[in-house]
Symmetry: C2
Amino acid sequence: MTENNSSKPGEVVIKMVLDAWHSKVSQLDKLLSELSDEQLMKEVAPGRNRGIYLLGHLTVLADSILPLLGYEKLAPHLWTPFVQTPDKETTDLPSVNELRQEWMKVKTLLAEKMSAINSDEWLQKHTAISEEDFVKEPHRNKLNVVLSRVSHLDYHLGQMQFLKPRLK
Amino acid sequence: MTENNSSKPGEVVIKMVLDAWHSKVSQLDKLLSELSDEQLMKEVAPGRNRGIYLLGHLTVLADSILPLLGYEKLAPHLWTPFVQTPDKETTDLPSVNELRQEWMKVKTLLAEKMSAINSDEWLQKHTAISEEDFVKEPHRNKLNVVLSRVSHLDYHLGQMQFLKPRLK
């Protein structure tokens, strides 16, 4: 591959993926600022997950990026209620307000850790793949974890959007 | 940037993004195969867009990648009803069956065109940005168009999922 107007094609593409992550995080933040705690207690559609569950779920999935990058999780206690347990099967959940704080802490720490990773490191293997497999599958790198989480965030953002009142 | 176990870091990341696109397309295909035309005529949530509208909308947004890559659109006639017009404001829509065909044609042509683009080209400017701006913003390349469409597809996939009956 020859190098085009950027002298470092890998870096341009890494920036694209990280920018996409930060942009989706901002989109969720904006939505959260528009929704009251009461609205977040509602189901996004009849019989579907509630806003509080999706907020917890997205917090956990963001938090789970940390160990793949080599850091410790910040909110491991949220894994059971928001990933392993379907919504409405336990009443033992943090409040919406507590979850807003957890999300804030996780996204902030993640942004800090992400900004400290250099381009070389982004394309190195994440911690859940062996050296042998990585030689055959070099796309299973740290950046790919973020890429898949960008899409996952958008998937649930589309659903959480329904918590906003319909425009008349 | 030194080169890690892939000798071409740009290529690895390009493959990651293209794989993500193809994976989301397959996910939509799977969902479409599970939904009847009648189900696709339903709103994804009360008062929200219908499945038919989102299918048309996603077809248009996939189709709109073609001109940014330098090719002609296949379904320009779908732009007005599925992007410019909100759902349920016109009765002049193709049938669900016709839309299934349009989606099939667009995704197939797009996959064909995508496979013919080499790594250099993916990182070149798309057709909607000037040479001057591109020098300052090299991330506004062809690959970034696909990256943003991956997320967009997932956003609506999350919503269309609600057309499936809830598990008891």
